[in-house]
């Protein structure tokens, strides 16, 4: 009984994240229904986009372990994403036939998922082992280099990777069992060996994988290892003097992050059925870092929110802006603006050219207004208030008797 009361007093009741998790879960569950209703049964496009966004959420949750928890600036995270994607492409397509191997390999998606995690984590160890002995900034540069090298290798080792053409026609993942129903326009039935083609199926699997990932990462954060990460982030010398093997702990954070990236890469490749070295550039790494910083570094719900928002801005809002602008100009009677005249390319094209200026502007404004991120971790919030220390700033509630 005591332990139960203690748990209740010390834990979930006061955790503002509980609310955030519940909101995110409700949104995730209701989204497909809302999308279908709102579009009058044509919600597939939106559900498809949401499933793609899930890949970025997964990447952000993984990179958050590296940057947010352990404080290691990894600028080449997309490289592990590429490793995961190409692992799937090699192990689950006919591509093997055109390589010197001469034989196609067709492993099931779920097995490749684990292989890709393992391969990406191994790359993380290989890269991290020599560099994590050094301090912060060195790691940033080394990972930056690694992030540049990996896509280039995939691009230029064309005997194995088909170079710029990438690898296409990857296997469609299958589930051993799936529940069919009216939501997919079929009668109720349990189908074996279900090919995951419909956006809804992808979406459901993505959400399930995300829930599992978040639970696991959250467990890690609140464990011996999570504490060690925090300690290393704050003061490596003190952490070492307290018995923390700092190199091992950092290496673990780095390779767990890499494993997540490999995992996301596999899912991404399987869904797109295509991999190309173009998709894993520096801009992908930076986008994920932006998601983390803007959402609230170190705080899982914050990072998820940040990922969803940034994804929405980059992949939905910005591409549609020219259309909106044109529509707006027409509706206010300025339809003359919609056509090119002289140097002016027309409002749509004009806005299209300004896309990334607008994106940059949004980022600058958000970071000025809310430097700690949208849903910051408590530590982060405090760090940004440095100098305004209050003795009475408590994390939970001091008055609660911890001893029970």
């Amino acid at each position: 009984m005591t332990s139960l009361r203690q748990f209740w007093q010390s834990g979930p009741r006061r955790d503002p994240n509980t609310v955030a998790y519940i909101v995110l879960l409700v949104v995730a569950i209701s989204f497909p229904i809302l999308a279908t209703v709102a579009t009058g049964g044509q919600g597939e496009v939106m559900i498809n986009v949401a499933a793609d966004a899930g890949v970025y959420v997964l990447l952000a949750v993984g990179l958050n372990v590296v940057i947010g928890f352990a404080g290691l600036l990894d600028l080449g995270y997309a490289a592990f994403f590429a490793v995961g994607a190409y692992t799937y492409a090699f192990l689950a397509s006919d591509h093997g036939r055109v390589t010197p191997l001469g034989e196609p390999i067709h492993l099931p998606f779920w097995i490749v998922l684990f292989i890709a995690m393992f391969v990406a984590a191994s790359f993380g160890v290989i890269l991290g082992a020599p560099t994590l002995r050094l301090r912060g900034d060195y790691l940033a540069i080394v990972t930056l280099g690694f992030g540049e090298i990996v896509p280039r290798i995939f691009k230029n080792a064309s005997v194995w990777t088909s170079g710029v053409n990438g690898i296409s026609a990857l296997d469609i993942p299958a589930l051993p069992l799936w529940l069919q129903g009216p939501w997919s326009g079929d009668p109720f039935a349990i189908v074996p060996d279900f090919k995951i083609i419909s956006p809804l199926a992808y979406y459901v699997i993505m959400v399930l994988l995300l829930i599992i990932s978040v639970v696991l990462v959250r467990n890690l954060h609140r464990s011996r290892l999570g504490r060690a990460w925090m300690a290393v982030r704050e003061d490596e010398v003190a952490a070492a003097a307290m018995g923390v093997n700092t190199v091992a702990v950092k290496l673990l954070a780095f390779s767990i992050g890499a494993a997540f990236s490999g995992f996301a890469g596999t899912f991404y490749a399987a869904k797109l059925s295509l991999v190309s070295s173009e998709n894993f550039g520096f801009s992908v790494s930076i986008t994920i870092i932006v998601m983390i910083v803007l959402g609230g570094m170190g705080n899982i719900p914050g990072v998820i929110t940040g990922a969803l928002l940034i994804y929405g801005v980059i992949f939905i809002l910005l591409p549609q802006m020219p259309e909106y602008a044109t529509g707006f100009a027409n509706s206010v009677g300025l339809s003359g603006l919609t056509h090119p005249s002289g140097d002016f390319p027309g409002i749509g094209e004009f806005i299209s050219r300004l896309k990334f200026l607008i994106f940059g502007f949004i980022l600058v404004v958000v970071m000025l207004v809310r430097p700690q991120g949208l849903l910051p971790s408590r530590q982060r919030e405090q760090e940004l208030q440095k100098g305004i220390a209050h003795e009475d700033t408590v994390i939970e509630d001091v008055t609660a008797e911890v001893g029970g």
């Binding site: 467990n219 952490a239 093997n245």
Partner: protein
Amino acid sequence: MTVQPAAEPILRIDHVTKRFGGLVAVDDVTFDVKRGEIFALIGPNGAGKTTLFNGITGIFPPTTGRVVFQGGEITGSPPHRVAALGIARTFQNIRLFEYMSSLDNVRLGQHCRMHAKLWDSLFKTPAERAEEKRVTDNAIELLKFVGIEKYTHVYARNLPYGSQRRLEIARALATNPALLLLDEPAAGFTPQEKVELMSLVHKIIERGITVFLIEHDMKVVMGVSRRIVVLDHGEKIAEGTPEQVRNDQRVIEAYLGKQH
């Protein structure tokens, strides 16, 4: 319950020298710390006291010489291994994990005594939960022991100065050490606080932990330590009881300057 000093020294500093380039910070220093005693290392600023601590704990390994702890050589062992073997320390300029609660600081101290592996942490196995509970209870007990339990859930940086020093001691005790190194634990304390700290040091000794402390202020250690070593410019200039040290000509010169 007082532990009687045993014959075998818990820590042996054997001809330890530490050079930083041309600067000799610690010069061929030799002494023993006996089990169960309060041993003090004193000396003026810049005498090499902290450098010696860093040499013992593996943060900056000695250039030459040996450090022997409980019969085994630990010269050059990395800090986390030294901590696991049973040497804990505090820092002269407090190095707490500022954005972690007092509780988490002390729980972190128990890191090297915990067994949870990655797998246990990922899946919150019953063994992991039980261990976390044990570690939390132990941390609260230690916070009470040093007298700062009212700050259990407060960020370390928000504690008053004196409590931060106490929290550092609690965190060091959490590693379950046989030998505790305190680097100027009373720095910046009022006379009243110094008295309180010394009574805490006596309580630590009663737990069977040997205390090896650095102090800048001679008066503080005179009351607590039976044996004192004095360093000046990296060299050992005196060793003995407080009375012997107080009356030693070289010690007086080191502290007050030569008489003309």
